[in-house]
Symmetry: C2
């Protein structure tokens, strides 16, 4: 891991860009982090639109979490930003666009091709990032995963024992096979659903919530479209992590 | 309104039992209430099991709300506690018991007979209670309605302009006609749903949430049965009222 830039916000939060091999990432730590005991870490997920595009929303969430004592980190997804495209996912994305423009249902094979390679490639990268992030001074765990592509969150919650709680956003296409993985999730879950999400199948989101194996799981549905999650819903996610990571 | 007893808890909360005509009720005010500006009021709903039986849960909610600066009040429902039975509702309750014991579906006519007379009788009583409660020194409004029989909350939200926000519990039988009333609700709503509520139809609860006309409404589903609402879900209800009444 190599830090490539650093800046400090006036709330004391330290933002450091880094690269992990070819993967760019960002780490935010609270102003108090170096002075006091190691802080827990939240991995900030995001949709595959590129870190640069997602930065404004991510930095808001990071600073909000830092105010409650969390370090947060994120890395670029495979095929996004400046990283090499994933050809299969690119073809699936074109198929998806065609289906949506034609008003046709989005077939399982499109969803599988769009999401499964991304999950397969991304999850080991997030785990590798965890290895180096948790070795940094001031960052101690435990670890939560928050937001982004829900299938990545599901897989991480299943395979990565250091992730002890997850805040998931039921707002993206979910391959059928991920419903089976969802049954194997056991960590506490806080699931957000935008009730009128234009690109999301509400019933599928409810079925997915039902499928999770976790004993503690809660679903929080709010009005509005995909990007309309209200501020107070974000506050509740941070409180969820405070309950489980602090 | 006549106060019949008074006690002060060690957190400063003042509990006063009262009667309003033949209707018993309880008012809780924060320790700070008399000294400072008038506080908002939350009407605490409850199921028709009698105030005495519900007291432990109600006083917990009341003291929790008082800590955030709210007065809370509740009154006995028609047909409950020491109040005269409602013969139609009693017959419906017996029919309901028979249906449940026989494992039969609960017909619309049972639900209507169980709930609609209760709503028709209770809502004007809660409005009358509001008249006198808001006239007391130290209680200023605005007013929220929280929990209890959801159909009472729906009707109150529709007919009573002083109720500006409602926290509802999707955990009881809802007559079909109340779905139509739900469309006319416009105040902000915070709806709780127990995902595995043995006596509740989950799909009906989701349909009811969908029906509400409010621009701001959120659904919060938690694991467990009817009485298993987790503590943190109660905290979130108080925060909802803080956002809308403070």
């Amino acid at each position: 891991m190599r830090f490539t830039s650093e800046r400090r916000f006036d709330d004391g939060v330290l933002e450091r860009e880094f690269t992990l091999g070819e993967i760019p990432g960002i780490l935010w730590t609270p102003g108090s982090a170096s002075a006091s005991a190691p802080v827990p870490l939240i991995l900030l997920g995001h949709p595959p639109l590129g870190l640069r595009k997602m930065y404004p929303r991510l930095v808001d969430r990071a600073r909000h979490s830092a105010a409650e004592g969390f370090a947060t980190a994120t890395i670029e997804l495979p095929g996004s930003g400046d990283r090499p495209r994933l050809p299969a996912a690119e073809r699936a994305r074109a198929d998806l666009r065609r289906a949506l423009e034609a008003g046709e249902p989005v077939g399982d094979e499109i969803v599988d091709a769009l999401v499964l390679p991304l999950v397969d490639e991304a999850v080991p990268e997030w785990q590798a990032a965890l290895d180096v992030l948790l070795a940094l001074p001031g960052i101690g765990g435990p670890v939560g995963y928050s937001g982004g592509v829900i299938s990545i969150g599901i897989r991480l919650a299943v395979v990565e024992p250091r992730v002890v709680a997850a805040g998931l956003f039921a707002g993206s296409f979910v391959p059928r096979v991920m419903f089976e993985e969802a049954r194997r999730v056991t960590v506490p879950l806080h699931v957000l659903l935008q009730w009128d999400d234009e690109g999301n199948d509400r019933q599928a989101a409810l079925d997915l919530f039902d499928a999770f194996g976790s004993e503690e799981k809660s679903l929080h549905a709010h009005m509005g479209g995909h990007t309309g999650v209200p501020q107070y819903a974000g506050d509740a996610v941070v409180r969820f992590f405070t309950r489980h990571l602090m």
